[in-house]
Symmetry: C2
Subunit: 290 residues, 2 copies
């Protein structure tokens, strides 16, 4: 089968399938009896070799997603610094609020986006390292999200605004709840459970599609929440009297550009995740896939 | 391998993999030489038998997604009928505008959502019928979307509002563009190309993950666009003087409930698509999977 054009590396389930196919005869169920951890299994599959087209697509996804993920953060910083009076922690509630979009986009979009893409795109190194990098990026996102949440909470308190009233705040709460759930599930299922690798094999394999699908849903949820926040902020700006009409128009274009960039990030991440593009150095360490 | 807990039915790529594994010896590349169309291949795989847990999960997804997909449309109708003065075509621009949220949610969310779920969940009938139902639901969505677009366009013209200014309208344009692209690609790749089944096999198989990933991205894009539209409308309502404060609050809760329902629809569809739950009547007609 010419998997090159479809999926250069076999997806998780297929890899597991192959393990079960290679399990010794008489073993009724491959997943209950995983290969012993000391046995090294490499897939030297000629189908894994990439053609030129696959490489071009892979590079295009890597370059484009990097530009978009960094670009959206730079664009938000530019907007806040030049059109929203910059940021500070406790001096001014308005400036404290400005930390909210930067930190949330950094945590929920840029860091989480890189984390997801690295997990799916970087398979030339040992899989356990990829998992640790995936967890590291999400772990770095946690303080960003926590500070981003505190900044808006404190700022609302200082300005005596009602918290958790708008749709944006409700969506934000669902996003944060799902993020924490995903982090805890991921940490225990794919790292802590590795301590007892053989016995937890079927449980871990069952968790893979759940973690992957909820992770992608959470990423889109973060994008939808960010876009609603941008619109809420823009609608507030329209009523501000101390901002010139010209500046309002420029700000409108900047926030719209941030929104459109976020949407393209969502599309490219969904595309990259589903296509499971991976640098198929022909040797894939199958036993460490889960 | 106990696939029950992971994926009751093998995903598309695995099914194709099995075809290539079953291709006659000496065939260098299974995908270039698909099995002859008259040869019936059934997978009588004992792994496909479902356990009680898989059935419960399948039923839960089907029931929950049906409730949410119909519920969001009912909620939008309720909002428009009781709080936005109902709808009409040309008598009043305001009432004409009210058709926009109903038709767009009907086309982009309810019909598209059912279409995606039916494709992934309903595999007990012949695959070509599932494809036709999938196309039919999307085809019915087209007039809804076209009328929804016209209603807002006409209403803006009548009210002398600027078109394509807000982030919502830009996102809407991207969503509509991607929808048309997906429909055309899907129609030609998976239906027209079937006329010459054998020769187009590799092309069709290459299109599967692209169509699936862009379809999911487009669904989330539609959700994000809908949510931004709800927030824009709600912010406009806040400034209306002829609506009582109590009604504004109730309307706020209704639009927020629509937004939250949309988000849960996104999560459940992403989950259902990735988990590839299917009623695994043990006989799966593999050759018709693409």
């Amino acid at each position: 089968m010419d998997t090159n054009s479809v999926s250069p590396l076999p997806p998780m389930e297929e890899a597991m399938d192959r393990i079960s196919e290679k399990s010794p005869p008489g073993t009724p169920n491959g997943i209950e009896m995983p290969p012993p951890p000391d046995e090294k299994r490499y897939e030297e599959d000629p189908d894994n070799a990439w053609n030129c087209c696959s490489w071009c697509e892979y590079l295009l996804i890597v370059i484009l997603s990097t530009i978009l993920l960094v670009g959206v953060l730079v664009l938000t910083l530019f907007w806040v610094m030049f059109y929203r009076d910059g940021f500070a922690w406790s001096e001014s509630p308005k400036q404290q609020f400005n930390l909210h979009p930067i930190l949330m986009i950094a945590g929920f979009v840029t860091l989480s986006g890189f984390s997801i893409l690295i997990y799916r795109l970087c398979r030339c190194v040992k899989h356990i390292y990829v998992k640790l990098i995936h967890m590291f990026f999400h772990a770095v996102a946690i303080p960003c999200i926590a500070l981003g949440f505190l900044s808006v909470f404190d700022s609302h308190e200082a300005l005596q605004k009602v918290n958790f009233y708008s749709l944006h705040s409700w969506l934000g709460l669902v996003t944060m709840g799902m993020f924490v759930l995903q982090f805890v599930i991921g940490f225990f299922s794919f790292l802590v459970m590795l301590c007892c690798e053989n016995k937890t094999y079927s449980c871990r394999s069952a968790m893979v599609p759940i973690h992957a699908s909820l992770g992608l849903a959470n990423f889109w949820l973060a994008i939808a929440t960010s876009v609603t926040g941008l619109i809420e902020k823009e609608r507030e700006t329209v009523n501000e009297t101390n901002v010139s009409q010209e500046n309002k128009l420029i700000e409108h274009y900047i926030t719209s550009a941030i929104g459109i960039t976020l949407i393209f990030i969502g599309i490219i991440v969904t595309f990259a995740v589903r296509r499971s593009n991976a640098p198929a150095s022909a040797k894939v360490y199958v036993t460490e896939r889960i």
